[in-house]
Symmetry: C3
């Protein structure tokens, strides 16, 4: 268990929060372009609480080679997986450049690949082959189900089916798309959870731990922690919110602390 | 008075903004986990405009001891008070570890303690004793009144009574809880001020300067500056908003500049 | 054309994005007080994608001389224009200190001046003279049309007239005011575009490239890119959103990538 940084004997209200290396309780961060100094700060302060760092959408293509190189190595040195957003893979795929994309990603030092069809249409056979190739090259593969366009309703049954196929094909975890805004997939335009869709996905998965829920908004994180426990896998966490989320996961913030009150005898002084 | 950084003879539209060290016009910052580099940046750019830095909720428990140590010393070197969020004290208190918490906070170099019951229930006698102990140890004590849960309506009369008792017991200032979101206490869920509650608290306090108003949203800051003057005490200011708030306090932003226009003769060229 | 930072042969979905130095496709950034480290990060990561950096409102007056000096030089070293927010010029003007303001701005190393009347009233003759003086001193001059106060409706016809006069008087570009929040000018309080006002301004300008649209919100950026192309001039971009915007401009994000799909043959593997 993570020892509190004060070095004193105080128990965190929510128990059994997993520490790294871990296969549950994963936190995936959405990085929209932190520089080297900011990335160093993030990792020094919160590297212990981060499992995956995603260079969002196609932003990795916009870094200078020098900064990209430095950043990838820096992130890896904290044992955090790093990967380019799924959108850039979709762009490459559409141009018949998948192999080039994967080889170069490997060369650059990315440790993980996200396979998505948030914008393009992809045949099931293609998706399977992309996963295979990435796994073959030694990448940890995350797939994503759901559409980026709120008008383009992705049927939940389809999502569930895809999720299971992806896992069979070798995906490490499956991400439920919510975007940076937290307003698509199982969320409505106000960011509130569509409980029916949520439970359908949950019931359709072999177990809850195979899912990473994109949950950029605090209310979404609170709902997921209260429903699925503090070791639920969460994604698209903004870079400034890592410790705040970790406080939620440990009951160190009012929203989740409150539910634990009965567990404590009120010793006070 | 703060000299404008350009070094030329231009008067700031809002006059008499107090400079540090000061007992009014306080700015308290909500820090959700800045790293050492970011903290250095914040202090170099805005240290002169910050009085208190709060390591929000229980996040201070999630830092590595090394980073926590470095950060506390760095913040203090700019003559800024630093303290752990009230929630972590509530956690310690509930486990009968108050003394350990306070001694260790002292050892770590925190200069200030926040006493709150935003999540737990606390007897008046306990609250008094916590304040006493913290004051005894040489801490500057801030207390907080109000609940974190919007459903758990805190009666304004209760808040006023508590505020006065805290001051009698030795609190330096009393914070009116609004959370990071600015949506509880004297604010509704849209962040707008409940004027009746606001005025009741104001009338119930010995004087306005004993209060620190949590006011994370610009409209809240503008309202408070317009109502109580530019040296109103404000809290829960996001780290990226310090200069923007200071611009409001000095009439260097449209929202507060506009009200001063009649004071100026329009010399123009 | 910007070469993608991966160094592989993948075409960006939106073609012909201009690179610096450029006179169209400008990106103007709203800087509310980044420190030296953060500014270094911003420039290292995104300097190639930024044309103008504005020290928002009157914040430049709140920096210490030392930090201000260092920051201006740093920004210029990346061939990014830097200027103080228009509000500070309005403050100086009202006190009859325009010359002092302009000389000192020159001395400090600012390369650009914004002339606005977002808060004060200004005679047309005065505005013209301010532009003249700034141009004479070798500044690149941006003017701004529109009011900061949503209640103080600025008539679109007036804005169009002013825009044309400013250009005739020597302004390099004219900014359409939207504030940091993106809720005034051609936007309503929800940040949605008033299409009638938008088109009126567009039709009234000699050509679209003379305008810089303040567009802090993603939906505003997407609308402008879809309507006016990826080299539309955009302003008030938050410092954390530069690469995200650049991804939109290059079709590397779902919102703008989607519209390009028909351009690609689906080669896939």
């Amino acid at each position: 268990m993570f020892k509190n940084g004060w070095g004193i004997d105080i128990e965190f209200p929510l128990l059994d929060r997993r520490t790294k290396p871990r296969n549950i309780g994963l936190t995936m961060v959405l990085d929209k372009g932190l520089g080297i100094g900011e990335t160093t700060d993030l990792l020094e302060t919160s590297g212990e609480h981060i499992d995956f760092l995603k260079l969002s959408f196609g932003t990795s293509a916009l870094y200078s080679p020098h900064v990209l190189h430095k950043k990838i190595n820096l992130v890896r040195s904290y044992e955090v997986d790093i990967y380019p957003g799924g959108t850039f893979l979709e762009v490459a795929l559409l141009q018949g450049k998948l192999d080039q994309f994967l080889y170069r990603a490997k060369e650059l030092g990315f440790t993980c690949i996200e396979v998505s069809d948030g914008t393009i249409e992809m045949e099931k056979e293609t998706r399977k082959e992309v996963i295979f190739k990435a796994v073959d090259l030694g990448f940890r593969v995350l797939t994503e189900v759901g559409k980026k366009d709120a008008n383009e309703k992705c049927l939940v049954d389809e999502m569930v089916k895809q999720l299971n196929e992806d896992l069979e094909n070798g995906a490490y975890r499956v991400i439920i798309e919510a975007r940076e805004s937290g307003t698509v997939g199982v969320y409505n335009s106000a960011g509130d959870t569509d409980l029916e869709a949520f439970e359908k996905i949950l019931r359709g998965a072999p177990n809850p731990d195979v899912i990473i829920w994109e949950a950029p908004l605090k209310k979404q994180q609170v709902h997921l922690i209260k429903t699925l426990g503090n070791n639920v896998n969460l994604g698209n966490i903004p870079t400034g919110e890592i410790l705040a989320l970790e406080a939620l996961r440990n009951g160190l913030r009012g929203d989740t602390f409150k539910d634990t009150l009965t567990r404590f005898s009120k010793n006070f002084l």
